[in-house]
Amino acid sequence: MCWWSISRSITRCGRSDRLRLAFSHHSLFVMVRSTLRLCCRATACALLASVAVAPLAVREVEAQPTKGVSLGLQYRPGEKTALIVLPVKGANGDSLTTMLSRDFDFSDRFTVVGSSAAPAVTGAINWALFAKLGVDGIVQATVLPSGWLRVVLHDVGLKSVRNQKDFPLPSGALSPAWRLGVHGVADAVEEWITGQRGIAQTRIAFTRAGRVWTVDSDGANVTPVTPSGMSPQWLPSGRGIVYTVLDGVRNPVMFTDLATGAQRVLASAPGIEHTTPAVSPDGRTLLYARGSDTGTDLFAQPFEGGAPRRVTVGRGRASAQPSFSPDGQRLAFMSDRSGHPEVYISDLDGTNVELLTAAAFGDRDYRAGPDWSPDGRMVAFQSRNGGTFQIMTINLRDQSVRQVTNDGRNDDPSWAPDSRHLVLTSNRSGVRQLWVVDIETGRARQLTRGPETRLAAWSPRLAAQ
């Protein structure tokens, strides 16, 4: 296993997550073991230690020969690791089993084998039975008398414990906080295997029936969090949400503190629309579109209060829907300054504007709703060329465009913290609902059900409450 991963890491200056995997304590142990087994690979190991972490993955190395090496539990992008969650015993065991299995499934990085198929485990694990199931890893969770959750990850290929940790869970089983804690456990296990923390411990804010709600990443816990409003965006800390209230009078941008439920006005003036707010990655700047008799333009102001500063000069045209780059230095936004809506990027003060979506589309119809991916590499947006809106991504390095949806009308994408999943609004099932799409596999799942639901924003990773 180790040699394989090392050699790949070296050949391709592999993904940072794989390198981290190789460096984790247990892996180092395994590494030494298998290195001894493979005798002649020691030089490769030494080499690895000096390899710097490079951020980019290249696909073709997938064809590396692997025969003759015991691979064990190994995350390979594009090739899913098979996991099984053993049925958890005790109070709320079924909920724990279900939640963990579902989180691994929703990560789109694993093939999850149904827990009911698991051979009974009493004491020692019968590795052969699990190998026959095609399982690479076994997740064994036990509720401790303290209420903590002990999680052991077994590596079927290596017939050994890969990771083990005791996780605290908030009291009040099945409460929103407890569920968020369990999602955090799933995310930690995912990090053990892939080197990258999962996105189960997140929520999605959205607009329904003229107010803002949140829902857990697995679709549970649908909760209204404001008395009115639309267009929510998260604070980078995840502790609150900014949104707009289109009341036809002062149309304020509001802030809601999710811990206390307190609402605060951030921007408000008679006869002005304050819409599509966004908060900078450092939490200090609020950006929003300000609609007045001179048009709709982006304005910035200190989050804690202060005078608004003009960012765009539309001269009667509209600029709206700002999205910060993760380093907080650039903006993506929508503007119809050219006569029809397109996505632009600019510096924070509105200078150095570039038309982002022109090259791929020419002069047809429209683009809107940009969202900059948390890894900084892509901007997702909605695009229409004669037909209906579809979600697309544009790679900022080579401007390559990929279409993510093709079913029904799709609007307003928002990235998950993993820069791999998008939540978007789609009418593919009839009424507009939120859907989560994995841009690598194209797999889509419906997140919400019920009345019309739209304008979603994926939270950052949330700490257990």
Partner: protein
């Protein structure tokens, strides 16, 4: 004109009176016929009030209707159509007849564009109407504008008919609407 025609009327009627009573030549022609002769002339206005009040009220109601009349737009456009201009011309006359009158224009969109961009488009539709009015002499301070994007559709549905009814400016009176006077 008015005065001369009334004079004519008096002359004609007095000559009629004169012609009617041949026995005596009337010494004072003008005062005597007034009670009888003026009477029919007055009955026209006194009989009318019932009708005129109703007509006046009707005029006020129709002025109010015209003032609050919704105007419509083409898809993804904020240009004023001819029917919208005609409606705005009527509104100008009413605004001119009522200096204390203030209005609010709210722009709306159909559901086809981006929800959030529609707020900006609705604002532009409201501003288009306001600009038309102010360019023709209505004081800008009398007109507020706002936008609801696609958030408050007038009609539900996903047909062009529904959409065309949702792409609109709505008008409301914010002050001075109590004693509305019709345009003269």
């Amino acid at each position: 004109m008015m005065r001369s025609s009334r004079l004519m009327l008096v002359l004609v009627s007095s000559s009629l009176v004169l012609g009617a009573c041949k026995k005596k030549p009337a010494p004072a022609p003008t005062p005597t016929p007034t009670p009888t002769e003026r009477a029919p002339e007055r009955t026209t206005p006194t009989a009318a009030p019932v009708d005129t009040m109703a007509a006046y009220n009707e005029k006020v109601a129709s002025a109010r209707m015209r003032l609050l009349e919704t105007i419509f737009f083409e898809y993804d456009a904020d240009e004023l159509r001819d029917d919208a201009r005609a409606s705005l011309d009527a509104k100008i006359a009413i605004l001119n007849a009522n200096p204390g009158l203030r209005i609010r224009v709210a722009g709306h969109c159909d559901e086809r564009g981006s929800d959030e961009y529609n707020i900006a488009l609705g604002r532009r539709r409201a501003e288009a109407a306001k600009r038309y009015l102010t360019d023709r002499g209505v004081d800008a301070s009398r007109i507020e504008t706002s936008s609801f994007g696609r958030e408050r559709p007038a009609v539900q549905g996903t047909t062009e008919e529904a959409w065309s009814k949702n792409r609109r400016d709505e008008f409301e009176i914010t002050a001075g609407g109590e004693n509305l006077r019709p345009a003269s």
